[in-house]
């Protein structure tokens, strides 16, 4: 793919209302999930019932958009049928693709639904051409969502060696770990982001105002104390403030969000097919604002116009943005 060619905008939806907002704001494709452990945004009040998913897919198709269903957790032992049935439902509803991470589920889906397009979730953490080619040759995976640990140059190198599309995150929350392999939240809560579908599950989060400061606890452990007037982060351990030896601060990662709008031309030149916006846990107001902004950016890119960047900072965690690993620099 060369500069100026159209890139696909893949947008998040946590509810049917957010899906409609995304489609109306210009999403080419929307990704979403069922309201159970099969998806990695298994939060209270969020996601789609079977009936809502069928209606959402029909709505998106009427408006020329695709729906990609994330079944991107790893099936628990003895509960595989729940994940397998979810794949069946996606095929029945006419989903444009399912986004999978688990090897067993990929095998099951490719064997029983050969016509169903498979995307490899970021949760699979396939970060080199050999790993990706294994998924492509073995299961017929058509698109890989690349982990947020690669530079633009590394993405270009991968694209030269694989026969599949790549999709990269362009905006939203960042994970410090190779996705799908992080167990930090499990240590504090006993619930696995990768199997139960929720990093820092709300049932284990507590906020308290103490003398003007906001104190966040996860599983009873205090992980931040944010002074009045300072931006609050999500209650995730990776963004926590801890003491380690003489150091006190963000041991793992600062609370900042990805905004790689300025890198759209370079990502296109690196051979990327689709750009993904993070945030299925966010409201329809976020979805609408971010999707509209990035659709405008993609159209500007396609037309050879300069891309406006940084206009979404107020929506981001930490109220700060970064280009993440795409542009690695020494600290």
């Amino acid at each position: 793919m060369t500069v100026g060619q159209a890139l696909e905008l893949v947008c998040p939806a946590g509810t049917p209302a957010a899906l409609r907002a995304a489609v109306e704001a210009g999403a080419h494709a929307v990704y979403c999930g069922f309201n159970d452990e099969t998806n990695a945004r298994n939060f209270p009040g969020l996601n789609f019932s079977r009936e809502e998913m069928a209606e959402a897919i029909a709505f998106a198709h009427r408006h020329g958009a695709k729906v990609l269903v994330a079944l991107n957790t790893f099936p628990r032992a003895g509960a595989f049928s729940q994940w397998s049935a979810a794949v069946d439902d996606c095929a029945r509803f006419g989903a444009d693709a399912v986004i999978l991470a688990d090897l067993g589920l990929l095998e099951d889906a490719s064997r029983r639904h050969p016509g169903l397009r498979l995307h490899l979730s970021v949760q699979a953490a396939a970060a080199n051409a050999d790993a990706i080619n294994f998924y492509v040759r073995t299961f017929g995976v058509k698109r890989i969502v690349l982990p947020r640990v690669l530079t633009v140059q590394e993405i270009a190198a991968i694209n030269r060696e694989i026969e599949a599309e790549t999709e990269v995150f362009i905006f939203g929350g960042l994970c410090v770990m190779a996705e799908g392999r992080c167990s930090l939240s499990s240590y504090a809560t006993g619930k696995s982001p990768n199997m139960n579908g929720a990093c820092s599950p709300a049932s284990h989060v507590e906020y308290r105002e103490e003398g003007g400061a906001l104190v966040s606890r996860l599983g009873g452990f205090a992980i931040h104390r944010v002074a009045a007037g300072q931006p609050a982060p999500y209650p995730t351990l990776c963004k926590g403030v801890f003491e380690a030896g003489d150091y006190k601060g963000h041991v793992f990662e600062d609370p900042v969000s990805l905004d790689a709008a300025a890198l759209i031309p370079q990502l296109a030149e690196a051979g990327v097919t689709a750009l993904k916006i993070e945030g299925r846990q966010r409201s329809r107001a976020y979805t609408e604002a971010v999707v509209r902004s990035f659709r405008r950016a993609l159209n500007d890119h396609a037309a050879g116009r300069p891309i406006a960047a940084g206009e979404l900072r107020a929506l981001t965690e930490g109220q700060q943005t970064t280009a993440g690993a795409y542009r690695k620099t020494w600290r």
């Binding site: 009040g45 969020l46 609050a232 929506l315």
Partner: protein, 185 residues
């Protein structure tokens, strides 16, 4: 989406005057609104799931009173209370009146308001998330819901309700109506 920095506060003089106002009429109207909302948006309860048994303190910090919401499917309740006599609650959602109304109307993003400290939540986080997501999905329009209180005269009341909401939004900067988005291109 309007900037969180531009969220207006209820005028101090008005808030002072409201300190003396009786809450019974407000509670009566709020209770009717809650029952009507429950009838017109039954999917709210489905999305709330196990959280329908919880009690929420909705706390407009620029007003001298708050609201207790009990989203029971069989008898949803909403009543105005003084903070000193609010009693027990499972979760508190606090912010300016404009921020809370803007959340209902989808003018603001709840996480962004939390990041910027314009929204404070305490207590049962699971209940707060479920309520936030349930309301967000319903695309509630408070002017329309108010008009619905007029029963058979809803269609007559709707136009002036929307007109008033639009006027109030222009004057105050508060998102009294849902943002008009329009489709792409």
């Amino acid at each position: 989406m309007p900037s969180a920095n531009a969220i207006p506060f209820f005028p101090t003089a008005g808030a002072l005057a409201l300190r003396l106002a009786p809450l019974a009429p407000l509670s009566f109207a709020a209770a009717r609104l809650a029952r009507s909302l429950g009838r017109r948006h039954p999917a709210l309860f489905k999305r709330l799931g196990d959280q329908t048994g919880k009690t929420f303190l909705l706390d407009p910090t620029d007003l001298p009173f708050a609201f207790l919401l009990s989203p029971r499917p069989e008898a949803p309740g909403l009543k105005a209370v003084r903070r000193s006599s609010a009693g027990s609650w499972d979760a508190r959602i606090a912010g300016s009146l404009a921020a809370l109304i803007g959340l209902v109307h989808g003018a603001y993003d709840g996480d962004a308001l939390f990041f910027s400290r314009d929204l404070v939540i305490e207590g049962d986080t699971e209940a707060v998330l479920a309520l936030r997501n349930a309301i967000d999905n319903e695309e509630i329009d408070l002017a329309r819901e108010t008009a619905a209180l007029f029963g058979p005269f809803e269609s007559v009341a709707l136009r002036p309700a929307h007109g008033l909401a639009a006027l109030a939004a222009r004057w105050t900067g508060v998102a009294f109506k849902r943002p008009e988005r329009g489709t792409w291109e």
